[in-house]
């Protein structure tokens, strides 16, 4: 936000540079990525160990706590990390501030909608509706 040239060296060190924020975002990116190493690893390992991919088998797996809870965490974390990544891509390539904010808005809406559909469906399976 026009802070670039006027920023003092101290302000830059404190993270008030061109991104307009500090190191929290950098850490958030890494926390969600490390969590996804575990959650995506669990997801793939679970798929490989399932006897088949028929609907009854998958529903039985996802209705158990050991299926439903990690899957919910996987959905939440992957949508959060993916939204974050796409917003960074937009920040890099969309230079007009209004368009940049517009893209952030659209991507956020899509991510929340997608995650909501996934989580509601998971809850439907888990609670046996």
């Amino acid at each position: 936000m026009g802070r670039g040239k006027s920023a003092s060296p101290l302000a830059k060190v404190r993270g008030l540079g061109s991104a307009g924020e500090g190191g929290e975002h950098w850490l958030y990116e890494r926390f969600t990525s490390v969590a996804l190493v575990l959650l995506a690893g669990w997801f793939l390992a679970s798929l490989v160990m399932l006897p088949d991919f028929s609907q009854p088998t998958l529903v039985e797996w996802l209705a158990s706590p050991m299926g439903a809870v990690p899957m919910a965490l996987f959905v939440i974390t992957s949508f959060a990390h993916g939204l974050d990544g796409l917003k960074v891509v937009v920040d890099d390539y969309v230079h007009e501030e209004g368009s940049r904010i517009g893209w952030h808005f659209v991507l956020t809406i899509l991510a929340i909608a997608g995650a909501s559909f996934a989580l509601f469906s998971l809850a439907t399976i888990a609670f046996g509706a």
């Binding site: 793939l44 609907q55 899957m71 993916g82 997608g114 559909f117 509601f120 469906s121 439907t124």
Partner: protein, 130 residues
Amino acid sequence: MNAPSSRPLSPHLSIYRWQPHMLVSILHRITGAGLTTVGLAVLAWWLVALASGAEAYAAFEGAMGSLPGQLVLVGLSWAFFQHLFSGLRHLVLDMGAGYELKVNRFWAVMTIAASVFATALLWAVLKGVI
């Protein structure tokens, strides 16, 4: 700030040469974008179909079992492994390690080798070949 400097300039685009580290860097972004758009759409569709009854799930299975569907799934699994291994490499680089030219190049190449190998292994297991 804009005073003339005797420090070297960045290589100009005309003498730019592709290197494994550059390829892995842009692949990290491309695979991440692909996983978020296509991958999360497939994940959401899968869960919605599972919750919506036999007919909806049959439609999902039909789409994913077709040749284009299988190609999408193989592509997503490769994208996942590439993003995973490249991401792990980034976590190491974040700690300040692995910047020596040969080391950096070696692990960049290894992320691609590992992602291709892991994808082949996964599908060999899924298809009952192993």
